[in-house]
């Protein structure tokens, strides 16, 4: 079955729409997914990926040590641009994480069965992206070892955090989000861990998966509670994910800086988050399904659907850009008008126009079905969108800050090597964690795929 999968896909192009390749049994599903983990031979591409991301992890360590030793002075930040690419990266990573929750929770509530092939994987991406995001605000503190001051604990200083600040809201929202995402991910995985325990051949594998499966035995009572709990979690994660990026947007919108102080930020940040998140899911899925021969599970229909969601969110984001430009001029507010004019024609104009190209123009290709079903094209479009979304945050952070009200306080910002090293390092951390995940945990939800196969069989 695995052998003729790619051929089937070609036949299906533009004709039959399949969610899962036909002819799969529960047994073949088990085998195809668990073998990836239980084998003692990982594909060569996995080793190469692990090596590269491991090296980048080294870069991360080095740049963190340098930062702790020398302070934030090794970055390009200074007055007036105090929020350099550290904050750009933080918002970028958080945004990427949102697609995982969207796939696992929102598509679940909408009963979109196609999500089952990608949700485990996308949720893992959420967790690692949120962890990568968490690095930046902490390291940006200047004195990261004081990070516990974020939390309201009784202390001899008699000091407490300011709960009316969006930055504090961020602390709570992001930590709640990371916790809920991790629990949701683990709950979704328990039945599959039991499958792993039962399929494992080595004793050590049996023991480890047995511990994490907690003794799951698939009893009807357990399934009943499990399904209720999963639905509840989906219902909880949905408003949470919307609130998290809205609060990140409020970090900017609650200030008085021209270019930040707009009411459109929260919704347009959420749309942007989903946009970039789906781009990242596609960037990772397309090579993965090739390397692990998962064409049976992740079909062109998945790529197509994700591209459509990406297109829809891309249009919302693009509308946000146009709306912003309109309102800055419509406001007739001297500083706002100057800000947008400076954005389009000033020293950072290249980033604004590159952003419009990446997020406004390139995604329009997704209107074409032929492109949406061409994995190579989608892979490159997704990368362009990833870059575009990074540029969006760069434009928001840097062009707004570098020229505010008083020309005497204007300045320029250039990221230094250590800025870039930390960014590369965070990508290394993200990918390293992803590679370990692929090796240790079934990357596709086994029982949910079985459910869908079962449903499809009974329909015919």
């Amino acid at each position: 079955m695995a052998t003729d999968a790619s051929k089937y896909q070609e036949d299906a192009l533009g004709q039959v729409d399949v969610m899962l390749a036909p002819g799969q049994t529960f047994e073949s599903i088990d085998r195809d997914i668990t073998d990836i983990v239980l084998t003692n031979k990982a594909p060569k591409a996995w080793w190469i990926g692990l090596g590269i991301s491991g090296a980048l992890m080294g870069v991360l360590m080095l740049s963190v040590v340098m930062l702790l030793f020398f302070g934030v002075g090794i970055w390009g930040i200074n007055s007036p641009v105090g929020w350099g690419i550290a904050i750009v990266n933080m918002v970028w990573w958080i945004g990427i994480g949102h697609a995982g929750t969207l796939i696992s929770a929102i598509l679940f509530l909408f009963r979109q069965d196609w999500r089952t092939s990608i949700n485990r994987f996308a949720e893992a991406m959420t967790l690692f992206a949120v962890s990568a995001a968490g690095l930046f605000p902490v390291l940006h503190l200047g004195r990261p070892w004081m990070v516990y001051w974020f939390f309201p604990y009784p202390n001899t200083l008699g000091m407490y955090p300011q709960f009316r600040s969006p930055l504090m809201w961020d602390v709570f929202a992001i930590s709640a989000y990371a916790t809920i995402s991790a629990l949701f991910w683990y709950i979704g995985m328990v039945p599959d861990l039991a499958t792993m325990r039962d399929r494992a051949k080595l004793k050590i594998q049996k023991i480890i998966y047995g511990i994490f499966a907690m003794g799951w035995r698939g009893s009807a009572t357990h399934w009943h509670r499990y399904e209720v709990a999963y639905l509840l979690f989906a219902g909880l994660a949905t408003p949470l994910v919307v609130s998290v990026h809205s609060i990140v947007a409020l970090d900017f919108a609650a200030s008085v800086i021209p270019g930040w102080h707009t009411t459109i930020f929260p919704p347009y940040f959420v749309a942007g988050a989903v946009f970039s998140g789906f781009a990242m899911v596609l960037t990772l899925t397309i090579p993965l399904r090739k390397i692990y021969h998962l064409e049976n599970f992740i079909t062109l229909r998945h790529i197509d659907n994700m591209s459509k969601i990406m297109l829809a969110n891309g249009l919302i984001v693009f509308y946000g850009y146009l709306n912003e430009v309109f309102f800055f001029f419509y406001s007739a507010h001297e500083f706002e008008m100057y800000m947008i004019w400076n954005r389009m024609t000033g020293p950072y104009a290249w980033s604004f126009w590159a952003l419009i190209f990446c997020n406004g123009i390139v995604p329009q290709l997704l209107w074409m079905r032929r492109i949406r079903r061409n994995t190579i094209a989608i892979f490159f479009i997704a990368i362009v969108i990833n870059i575009g979304m990074w540029l969006e945050r760069f434009v928001i952070v840097v062009t707004s800050l570098h020229r505010d009200f008083l020309p005497s306080s204007w300045g320029m910002y250039t990221p230094t090597g250590w800025d870039w090293a930390l960014y590369a390092g965070s990508a290394g951390f993200f990918l390293f964690a992803m590679f370990l995940f692929l090796r240790w945990v079934p990357m596709i939800s086994i029982f949910e795929v079985k459910e869908v196969v079962h449903k499809m069989e009974h329909k015919h």
């Binding site: 049994t25 529960f26 047994e27 088990d30 309201p152 008699g158 000091m159 407490y160 955090p161 709960f163 009316r164 969006p166 504090m168 809201w169 709570f172 929202a173 930590s175 709640a176 916790t179 809920i180 629990l183 949701f184 709950i187 039945p191 039991a194 499958t195 325990r197 039962d198 399929r199 047995g210 511990i211 907690m214 003794g215 799951w216 035995r217 698939g218 009893s219 009807a220 009572t221 357990h222 399934w223 009943h224 509670r225 499990y226 399904e227 209720v228 709990a229 509840l232 979690f233 909880l236 994660a237 408003p239 949470l240 609130s243 609060i247 409020l250 029982f447 079985k450 459910e451 079962h454």
Partner: protein, 182 residues
């Protein structure tokens, strides 16, 4: 005087099925025959099975609600206590208790409380972690996470009679019937 070999105590008698319809039918028959202590095992959730076996709807949603309310109250209480009682700062006479500005954190705490309580309650109600369970002694039970379905009538059932249960389960579409030792 031959001593009968001491039988290990019985957990129940389990039947194995090839698909969910056979399992569902068997559970229905078992229920009709008056058995109450039984449990079904399946690789995927089988809808209606729990209800057929006479299961009551779980109270999990109520626990989630309670956890959420508790989280909300805790979130607000934390902020009110800090801003109005423990460390009040007078900023131009503005109120200490600003419920609107406290909402984002209150909301995050609500979700956190609801999520954590759901997670803990679900596992606690299932009595997890429970690495050992007698049902794992059933022959071929490791297939229950692959593609086989099991129904076990447990020895605690008031109507339990080894022979009768054996016969009853053999009468369903079972592929195999076996005794499960504790």
């Amino acid at each position: 005087m031959n001593q009968a070999p001491t039988q290990p105590e019985l957990f129940g008698i389990a039947a194995e099925y090839a698909d969910d319809t056979a399992l569902l039918e068997a559970a229905r028959q078992a229920r009709a025959a008056g058995y109450t202590a039984m449990e079904a095992y399946s690789p995927i959730p089988v809808h209606g099975l729990y209800e057929v076996m006479g299961g009551k709807r779980t109270i999990l949603p109520l626990i989630t609600l309670a956890g959420g309310i508790l989280g909300l109250l805790a979130g607000y209480w934390l902020q009110i206590w800090v801003s109005a009682i423990e460390y009040p700062i007078n900023v131009g006479g503005r109120p200490y208790i600003t419920w609107g500005a406290f909402f984002p954190i209150g909301f995050a705490c609500t979700i956190l409380g609801a999520g954590l309580s759901t997670f803990v309650a679900m596992f606690a109600m299932n009595n997890f972690p429970e690495p050992y369970h007698p049902i794992f002694n059933t022959p071929n039970f490791e297939e229950a996470t692959r593609d086989r379905y099991f129904l076990c009538i447990e020895a605690t059932d008031p109507k339990f009679d080894r022979k009768a249960v054996h016969e009853f389960l053999s009468g369903t579409q079972a592929a195999a019937v076996s005794e499960v030792k504790t």
